[in-house]
Amino acid sequence: MSIRTQGRAAALIGVLVWFATVAAQDLLPTAGRRSASPLAVSGLGIDRGLRPGTALRSVGKPLSYARMRANARYLPGSLIVKFRSGTSQASRAALLATVDGRTAATVSNAPFDVVNLNDDADPEAVAQRLSAQPDVEYAQARYRVHPLFKPNDPLYSLQWNYPLIDMERAWDINPGASSSVIVAVLDSGMAYTNTAFDFTQTTAQNIDGVVFPALGAVHLTFAAAPDLGGPSRVVSPFDFIWGDNTPVDMDGHGTHVAGTIGQLTNNSTGVAGMAFNVKLMPVKVIEGFWDDYFESPFFGTDDTVARGIRYAVDNGAKILNMSIGREGPPAPVVRDALAYAVSKGAFVSIAGGNDFADGNPLPRYAELATQFDGVVSVGAVGRDRTRATYSGTGSWLELMAPGGDVARSGVPGMIVQQTYDFDFTDTFANGPTGFKAPRFDVFEYIYYEGTSMATAHVSGLAAMLYQQGITKPAAIEAALKRSATDLGPAGRDDQYGFGMINARAAVRGLGIIR
């Protein structure tokens, strides 16, 4: 074979390699990844009802998150062009012909043209070329506009805690996770259903040194918190305090915490929650005053908590919120349960304790968080982004989140959510005076503060990350820490851990450079 022939053969091989590599670039890398993306699952429901007498409106597909993503930053195959006045139709047509463009049908209120291009044309590049032409005033791709999500819940303006962690811009990217994610709330129960229980207490009860009179037989009504969504939001509820599957809240704490995690949002009612599309799993593992008064058969102890953790994991919860804790000796039974949770792919957030001013005791559950990648301990900041005066500190502290601080910012500086109206539940607040049977069917938007509230923020954000594709507990913890806003001394410290969660930075993830 002559050198010339060899050269031609080399050229032919080169061209073939070229086609193969280009085809591989176009076909291989992203198709599988895209189809694997867990984001393309949720959609907003639309009312398809047609009222008599109204004209049928032409509507597009529902503006689901998946559809927005599919269309990316701008619509393919078209762009916007505004020609300078006086440019003839012939000149316009000639210009558009240079980019294989065709003017689309005239649209109203548009002193510009919408130009159709070939589907494979890059509208940004074409717009740049057209913009350089003297007859063109401007040309641009048809960039998609997405809502800067701000919930329409009327009391949302009271929720300083969400803007503090850049939650609104996080919702733009990930609007509240999806119902495929189950968040277990290991707490005092949850106001998730309408029901009633009969209790009988025939003897006076000494609770925390105060003697309360016997109420006899009482019929207590329970209602679902209106802004929480009722039983349809709930999966696999269980009550480890009364030993049944109706973990109604007889305190209000669990309902408040659940609200921050997943309160219905953008429903023109009340307040907003973080991951407002998730399913909630109420797992009652601690008792309140009324559970004690009516002598529940079980108590909120380490073994109860450990069982609750295992129950939640075994029933599909991927995020566990533990706005609970205790001081004192170690809790190996809880440690084992946490290890089980992480091994089963569940992420756990644990409150860091509210007793800084009372000697800053070591919170035993929160301390365990440092032993596992996938379990985090959470402290609280006030609306001024400084550590709440009550929030515990120590080497075990990992993350901070808004928990409120009434001492520095007054009541508006606390965390507001819907829960029971204390006037109807805390009849014990003044001791035996005025003591009467409670009602668990009257709700109000109430301010709480504490690392419990902070922990709920972390769980809500973790649920969003899980839904978005970070499905390993250790990776969720790493994402939360990496995206956190560093507070206090640079780097990790005992006052603020790795810093305050930054929801937007967390859900936006990492680019190549930025």
């Binding site: 890398p29 992203t30 990844r33 993306s37 990496r482 995206s483 936006r508 990492l510």
Partner: protein, 238 residues
């Protein structure tokens, strides 16, 4: 074949043709050789002349930040299309200027301990290097070989752009980084004014991805935007 590729081909061909034209014109103006050399006399070697050539090329680059590109764009390798002009001096030195482009879509990710979690947020990355090279062609005077090895090196300015869905002001990236490269290859002459070359290039663009915690490059500990490229070059000109 995508439209983008078709256009890249067309542009490359135009570049080649445009750059090659002066060379062909010069060739026509050369004085004609003696009509009948004396029998037995040695044939004088053609006098080396400065040649201006055009070229188009395509090839694949294995990025130095391969893990980062693999995580976000689905491959540690990118396909570049390019073209440029080259001046070959009589002493066999050459100077070339080359413009190339790479563009690919992917998605933002989170990286933990090397494991990648795609987040479903579309991103688009483009790299447009402008490179100037100086080198030497190993073609002994009087040689009639059709294979001409060459080596060179130079400097480049690499325009890097990165855009993402949901990006706010200042979050997209459009920066130019300076890099350096060495290259080598072999050119196969396939006719009077046409040649094809196979070429390898090593490029370093140090510290392009530096100290940004919200970057996959940082997560992988990679900071160099360069890489190793292999390409096929089509040359028009003597």
């Amino acid at each position: 074949m995508s439209g983008r590729m078709t256009k890249a081909l067309a542009v490359s061909a135009l570049l080649c043709a445009a750059a090659a034209y002066p060379s062909a014109a010069m060739a026509q103006q050369r004085p004609a050789p003696p009509a009948s050399p004396r029998p037995g006399a040695a044939r004088p070697a053609p006098r080396p002349q400065t040649a201006i050539r055009g070229f188009g090329d395509f090839g694949a680059e294995r990025f130095a930040a391969g893990d980062t590109f693999d995580a976000t764009l689905g491959s540690p390798t990118g396909i570049f299309f390019g073209g440029g002009v080259e001046v070959v001096l009589p002493q066999r030195w050459f100077i070339s200027a080359r413009l190339s482009h790479f563009q690919k879509s992917g998605e933002r990710v989170f990286v933990d301990s090397g494991e990648v979690f795609p987040l479903g947020i579309d991103m688009k990355v483009g790299i447009t290097p402008i490179e100037v090279s100086v080198g030497y062609r190993f073609q002994p005077r009087g040689s009639t070989s059709n294979v001409i090895p060459y080596v060179g090196g130079g400097i480049g300015w690499h325009r890097y752009s990165e855009t993402s869905d949901f990006a706010d002001t200042g979050e997209d990236v459009s920066e130019t980084f300076q890099g350096y490269h060495v290259l080598g290859g072999a050119e196969f002459r396939m006719g009077r004014i046409f040649a094809i070359a196979g070429e390898g290039q090593w490029t370093t663009i140090p510290n392009a991805f530096e100290d940004v915690a919200s970057s996959a490059a940082d997560a992988f500990g990679e900071s160099n935007l360069g890489g190793i490229a292999f390409r096929v070059r089509f040359v028009i000109g003597r």
